[in-house]
């Protein structure tokens, strides 16, 4: 049974990125190559999903070096779910970008950066090695730096500088934690780490793993833009071109979320209570629970509150994105604290991540279109967009209502599962935070809608040009996708359930077994 399929998504993305650079003197060819590449990526991801669903773990050993010594790439339902999510975002966003990004920018850098971003994210989703995770993070970040500084104007340069400085510090901390883990356990392979933590050899001192794992958690929170590491988010999102922002919100942030799930549940969850630090109830994950609750809860509240008073569409959406990632993390905190809810909590987080990854790019693309046609996204200068361009406004409404959680849109199920997980755990804090967050979401979505889309037409809206047909088509397609996944939610739920199973003890055993082989 061949496992080469595991490397297909990153290889396709890498090949496309290189090809886009090679043919950049022929813009039309470059666009075609880029489009074919992203379709190929989606096909590779679909094939991989079909292989690993419902409960297969494929391990690809690079160069056939056996597991703990070589480089391992692993595809299991969790990785496949994240890959499917990025493919689902990447395809429409690229089509939008083909029309929207200015031709010079496309020729020089956009396509290469776009595919390198996909490459880094896919690598991070597939890697079975904590140092490789660091490297893939850097690959993703390198592309993100380029996309944030894309316009190289005053705002973009500053936003990119802030983004790079923060992430370089984050990288140093991550490297420190990775080195520390290697020093303590003598291995970097995720499966081998899990095995070591489950049963440390006699004479080993696993206590430092606690601090190191929390350092890693801080870095992942920085990548995901959780409070108190959210400072880079609004400026970076406002500075990047709309399709790039859609990718940053839809794919890059989810890499941080994925890393929390993979490291937290597959690796650190393996440590038995009391092994790492005696007297620690619930083991390593028991510590993750309250920490994630604070990070997620603070994100939900800060993101929601600040989104209420931001002056522009993009900034409102950027702060909303901070709050929504908080919603993704809330069920994770429940799952970490309560072993019986691991699969359900992770599945809820993944469904929420998917709903956010569809709705937020949709909203950012609407904001980008509004900027193109009306010349501004300042809510003071907008008004009456609903009458001027009903299709655009309708798509915005679908995305906004999905964030709010109105059935039958897919966002409804995201919210439902988050609330269900919180209710099952019987944790009043999580419930109160989630309800407050949901209320804030209703408020800022309706505020944006009232100020931007209803009311008197302002001069900017009155004189705006018609939106580009293709861009509008992409936006409508995304809105239909939000609707379709909500109506046909069952397969999504089953896929997320299969991915959530990875977080359980049985799922971890299957992972370790697939990577390290039978005897090991």
């Amino acid at each position: 049974m061949t496992t080469s399929l595991v490397v297909a998504p990153p290889v396709v993305a890498l090949a496309t990125a290189v090809a886009c650079l090679l043919v950049r003197s022929v813009p039309r060819l470059q666009r075609a190559v880029s489009l074919v590449g992203v379709v190929g990526y989606a096909l590779a991801v679909a094939a991989l999903c079909a292989r690993v669903y419902p409960a297969t773990t494929l391990a690809y050993q690079v160069g056939n070096w056996p597991a703990p010594y070589g480089i391992t790439l692993v595809a299991d339902p969790l990785s496949a779910f994240m890959l499917a999510l990025s493919a689902l975002v990447a395809l429409p966003v690229l089509v939008y970008a083909l029309r929207d990004v200015d031709p010079v920018g496309q020729r020089v850098s956009f396509h290469a950066l776009f595919h390198v971003l996909l490459l880094g994210a896919s690598g991070a989703f597939l890697t079975g090695d904590v140092f490789d995770l660091f490297v893939w993070f850097e690959v993703t970040l390198m592309a993100s730096y380029g996309l944030v500084a894309f316009f190289s104007g005053p705002a973009g340069t500053l936003a990119a500088t802030r983004y790079v400085v923060l992430n370089l510090l984050g990288s140093s901390v991550m490297l420190l934690a990775v080195g520390g883990l290697y020093g303590v356990t003598g291995t970097l392979n995720l499966a081998d780490l899990a095995r070591w933590l489950a049963d440390p050899p006699a004479g080993a001192h696993p206590a430092p793993v606690l601090g190191l794992s929390l350092l890693l958690l801080a870095v992942f929170a920085l990548k995901a833009g959780l409070v108190p590491f959210q400072w880079w988010v609004p400026s970076a999102y406002a500075a990047a071109p709309a399709p790039a922002t859609a990718m940053l919100a839809g794919v890059s942030k989810k890499v941080g979320v994925y890393a929390v799930v993979r490291l937290g549940f597959t690796v650190f969850g393996a440590a038995h209570p009391g092994v790492v630090a005696p007297g620690l109830a619930g083991g390593l994950l028991g510590v993750y629970g309250p920490v994630l609750l604070v990070l997620g809860g603070a994100s939900v509240l800060v993101g929601g509150l600040v989104a209420l008073e931001r002056p522009t569409l993009e900034e409102t959406l950027a702060y909303s994105s901070i709050g929504q990632i908080g919603f993704v993390v809330l069920p994770l905190s429940v799952a970490a604290a309560e072993p019986s809810l691991r699969a359900a909590g992770v599945a809820a987080a993944l469904v929420y991540a998917l709903t956010h990854s569809l709705a937020k790019p949709l909203l950012f693309l609407v904001a980008g279109t509004v900027r193109d046609v009306a010349g501004t996204t300042d809510l003071d200068d907008l008004g009456g967009l609903a009458g001027r361009s009903p299709v655009l406004a309708g798509a915005f409404l679908v995305g906004g209502l999905s964030l709010v959680g109105v059935p039958p849109l897919v966002g409804f199920f995201g919210k439902l599962l988050v609330f269900r997980t919180a209710a099952l755990a019987g944790d009043p804090v999580v419930l109160v935070v989630a309800v407050a967050g949901a209320l804030l979401t209703v408020l800022y979505v309706s505020r944006t809608w009232n100020r931007g889309f209803w009311g008197e037409r302002t001069p900017a809206v009155e004189t705006m040009t018609a939106p580009d047909r293709v861009c509008l088509g992409v936006i409508v397609a995304l809105a239909l996708c939000v609707l379709a996944l909500g109506v046909g939610f069952d397969p999504v739920y089953r896929f997320a359930g299969a991915a959530g199973h990875v977080a359980t003890d049985a799922g971890r055993d299957a992972y370790v077994h697939a990577v390290l082989g039978g005897g090991g």
Partner: protein
């Protein structure tokens, strides 16, 4: 003895890096980031053990230095080199765009 010297050096490097990162001058912040990432690299080297023999089969004996961390550091150095170059370009662009790299003056524009 080597361990003590390295531990002290690491402490000084991390302290100096943190101090520089907290400065107002963007160029110093870059140097701080640089010092911190180099401190991390030195720390990684110490993880593999210092003063052991070369890890070649049939050469020497007894304590062997772990070569894996050195490979990790090599990767980290290359990545750090690229990102630092990019960061310096961005700082230069910031100076071109805003005429200053003092973070207090840039504060208004960063909002």
């Amino acid at each position: 003895m080597t361990e003590v010297v390295l531990a002290v050096a690491l402490g000084v490097l991390f302290a100096a890096g943190t101090f520089l990162v907290l400065r107002r001058d963007l160029a110093r912040v870059v140097f701080g980031v640089l010092v911190l990432s180099q401190a991390t690299n030195v720390y990684l080297i110490t993880v593999g053990g210092v003063g052991g023999a070369a890890p070649i089969l049939g050469q020497g004996g007894g304590a062997v230095t772990d070569p894996l961390v050195q490979a990790l550091v090599l990767t980290a150095v290359v990545i750090g080199f690229a990102t630092t170059a990019l960061l310096l370009v961005l700082v230069y662009r910031t100076y071109q765009e805003h005429g200053t790299i003092d973070l207090d003056d840039l504060g208004e524009a960063m909002r």
